[in-house]
């Protein structure tokens, strides 16, 4: 079986705090900075929780208390590295059969931290195509957002 692999999306950002604080803000504090426009709960994002262990859950809590899964923790190496199983489909719905990986590393850089994020296994969106093709038509889905972006560009 040949794997059709689009190259991973890789991002780096430098933050002014040391790795321990950068790591905590990214994980414990995810709900404080995550853009609420990308919420999956009906009542809107209240909290984002990453359980601090390998195998832990990764989910969002809405303002009315409902819980929506985002994925799982694949690797938990405090202050240095985090790997998440991103299981949100193209319309931001949890799909237990979809697995893409988001790896985040934290390296000291001067007084701050270089944060590197890699979102890989994007080819699995192709494998889940049957389920998400329809989702792309949703105005709130990635296709809809892409269309909105394209309209502005």
């Amino acid at each position: 079986m040949t794997t059709i692999a689009p190259s991973p999306v890789v991002k780096t950002v430098t933050v002014p705090c040391p790795p321990d604080r950068a790591f905590r803000l990214f994980t414990e504090g995810m709900g404080t900075w995550w853009l609420p426009s990308h919420s999956v709960t009906k009542s809107g994002q209240d909290k984002v929780v990453i359980e601090p262990m390998s195998g832990g859950a990764w989910y969002e809590i809405g303002k009315e208390g409902e819980r929506c899964e985002w994925g799982r923790v694949l690797a938990w190496e405090p202050l240095a590295r985090l790997v998440l199983d991103w299981q949100l489909s193209a319309d931001f719905a949890f799909d237990p059969s979809l697995h893409t990986e988001v790896e985040v590393t934290f390296q000291p850089e001067g007084k701050g931290t270089a944060v590197r994020l890699e979102h890989r296994k994007l080819e699995n969106y192709g494998n889940a195509a049957g389920q998400i093709a329809q989702a792309f038509d949703s105005p709130n889905g990635w296709g809809g957002l892409l269309a909105a972006f394209a309209a502005k560009a």
Binding site: T2, P6, W33, L35, L117, A133, F136, G143, L146
Partner: protein
């Protein structure tokens, strides 16, 4: 909407096999047909869909056309994810800066 058609195109198992065959190496319609238990017109039809979805591209070589994977096929989805993380990490960086301010 290239992304819709790209993902729908790969939902068909035979079409996916045609696509995977081309992932191994560029090939003509005849080459592809030999490896699959499908007729040549059927393979041509699958190639047409894959081409329209931006997943494969064909180049004329003598009397036949050689098909290969268009590496930009999943491109629109990837481009969206790219922008998505740009926006999220910018929000993260701002939060970190706000935290560092006395």
């Amino acid at each position: 909407m290239t992304d819709i058609s790209a993902l729908s195109a790969l939902a068909d198992p035979t079409r996916r096999r045609v696509f995977e065959r081309l992932a191994e190496a560029p090939a003509s319609v005849a080459d592809i047909t030999r490896g699959l238990s499908v007729s040549q017109p059927a393979v041509s039809q699958h190639l047409k869909v894959l081409r329209e979805a931006g997943l494969v591209a064909g180049t004329a070589k003598g009397a036949s056309t050689i098909y290969r994977i268009d590496p930009a096929g999943l491109g629109p989805l990837r481009a969206w994810i790219d922008r998505f993380w740009d926006a999220q990490l910018e929000a993260y960086r701002k939060a970190a800066e706000a935290e560092e301010k006395p």
